[in-house]
Symmetry: C2
Subunit: 310 residues, 2 copies
């Protein structure tokens, strides 16, 4: 099957795509509408973000399954302390009480993004809010790398998986945007459900070798991602067999060999999350199709200096 | 005379102001409407920028007196080479042919801002375009640090000075914004003309000690700025005597002593251009009133981590 949105992520002779990671996490609050809007406004129409279900089954855009203390403040403006509440235990209305406009620089997570603007009154958006944003004709070239986050506590529950996928698809279809999104996950079971419920939409397979440490302050993918130990250069075959259109490896896991294999198999290779200048340069040299970055401007600059387009 | 806009730049007990330098040069093309809009949208309503007159006497927003080769591209998309044309030799319409959306990373100037987004179709704005932007009721708290750039070739020509000041004031008054701008310059003669033509508006005195090197790729201020060699801690007195409301020293020139003196004299102290984390921390410790930065988000973050407001 040919999916037009896969071509939006595909590179070419002199072309590498730039994907704004959680909007533009290095510049603006992650997974916020203002961050998505920034990425769109600088000419980076490919947006990566994360979807989780609330207690009242609203697909919302946030990365972790629990409200992430370094970026969630309560009604008094204080960063959360103690056990982080689960998104699935709160209604959308309850989640709106939290402000995600700032990062706690006293946390290890906060220290990773020292340039992120600090704002007040920024709320967790619904998936629908972003779909509305890209429905604006001026954003007609926007495409979504929609990550479905599989709750590790529920990953083996078939009904949960079907519901998560079903709710996401319901919203995407309500805005007639199934040709402008790829369904993206670490959870191969979830992607199997996606393919069954939405054969008209491409799947994007996230992978990370277990020897690579998880990033500080982020939910681990290890609970739901298959274990590829010792099979690094074979992953593209597995993605292809599973029915994938995109392969999205952690950038440290790619080699000239597995990128070439993936391309030979017709997969589109989008690496994440590439922020350091030397890593951006390496990924360009490997001719991946797309680079997912918290600093989309920085990637544009590398490409511009090389006379390349994105 | 009391100028309400000076208070917009004044710090306080737990308050240091953040001023977006040329919009937000570290993030977006300098002196561009998208850069100003970014600064406003992250809650940094104080905007610093530079005004120069075109051949047809249109006040436009650009830093140098000549089209700056590392950020000006011609209609073919190529960065300028050879002698840079003077802004004053071109009409506004001619200047609109150039694109200021990218920075040449092969230049020393370009290397200073590696994260700046790379865009196409960005034009030099008129002062009027920015005045229109801040006239939008949603930007009602915006205040301008409007730098009048004195052409070194014409700095001693009284008629030139009067015309530059007159044209700028004409536009500011046309939008009824004289209570939301400070008139800012290195050229003390020009500021004298400002005070005569606009006694209802405050003057902001830029200073830089000659021992501090000019920044790479920028017009030198030495031709028009008085020589303060050996008088570092006396500058606030001179600014006060000249009728200044704000004193805007290069950040490396401030000391606990001259900041205290300036405050005792009732001057508002706004330091520029403070980008490195250690320098931001030093300026906060010195309790300046305002920090002018190419990375307003980075300054917000320092202040937020200290529990301060801006």
């Amino acid at each position: 099957m040919i999916f037009p949105q896969v071509d939006a992520f595909r590179g070419g002779e002199n072309l590498i795509r730039v994907v704004g990671h959680r909007g533009a996490r290095g510049v603006l609050p992650e997974n916020s509408l203002i961050g998505f809007d920034f990425s769109l406004s600088i000419g980076v129409p490919l947006l990566e973000f994360d979807v989780v279900l609330t207690a009242d089954d609203v697909p919302v855009i946030t990365h972790n399954h629990r409200l992430h203390a370094p970026s969630f403040r309560d009604a008094e403006g204080l960063f959360l302390t103690g056990e982080e509440p689960k998104v699935s235990s709160l209604t959308f209305e309850q989640i709106q009480e939290f402000d995600i406009g700032r990062l706690d620089g006293h946390s290890a997570y906060g220290r990773r993004f020292p340039d992120q603007a600090q704002m007040d009154g920024v709320r967790v958006p619904r998936l629908m809010d972003l779909l509305n944003l890209i429905s604006d004709p001026k954003n007609g070239d926007a495409c979504l790398m929609l990550e479905l986050k599989s709750d590790p506590d529920l990953a083996h529950d078939t009904r949960y998986r079907e519901k998560l996928v079903g709710r996401v698809l319901q919203e995407v279809r309500a805005r007639d945007l199934s040709s402008r999104a790829v369904l993206h996950s670490f959870d191969w079971n979830l992607l199997e459900a996606c393919q069954r419920q939405a054969p008209d939409m491409p799947s994007s397979y996230l992978t990370q070798l277990p020897e690579n440490a998880d990033d500080v302050g982020e939910d681990s993918s290890k609970a739901v991602c298959p274990d590829f130990r010792g099979r690094r250069d074979d992953i593209p075959h597995l993605v292809k067999q599973a029915g994938g259109s995109l392969w999205c490896p952690y950038y440290a896991d790619v080699t000239a060999k597995n990128v070439e294999l993936a391309k030979d198999l017709g997969l589109c290779v989008a690496v994440w999350t590439v922020n350091e200048p030397e890593d951006i340069a390496k990924m360009i040299a490997l001719r991946v199709d797309a680079i997912v970055s918290d600093y989309p401007g920085r990637v544009q600059r590398h490409l511009s200096d090389l006379g390349m387009v994105w």
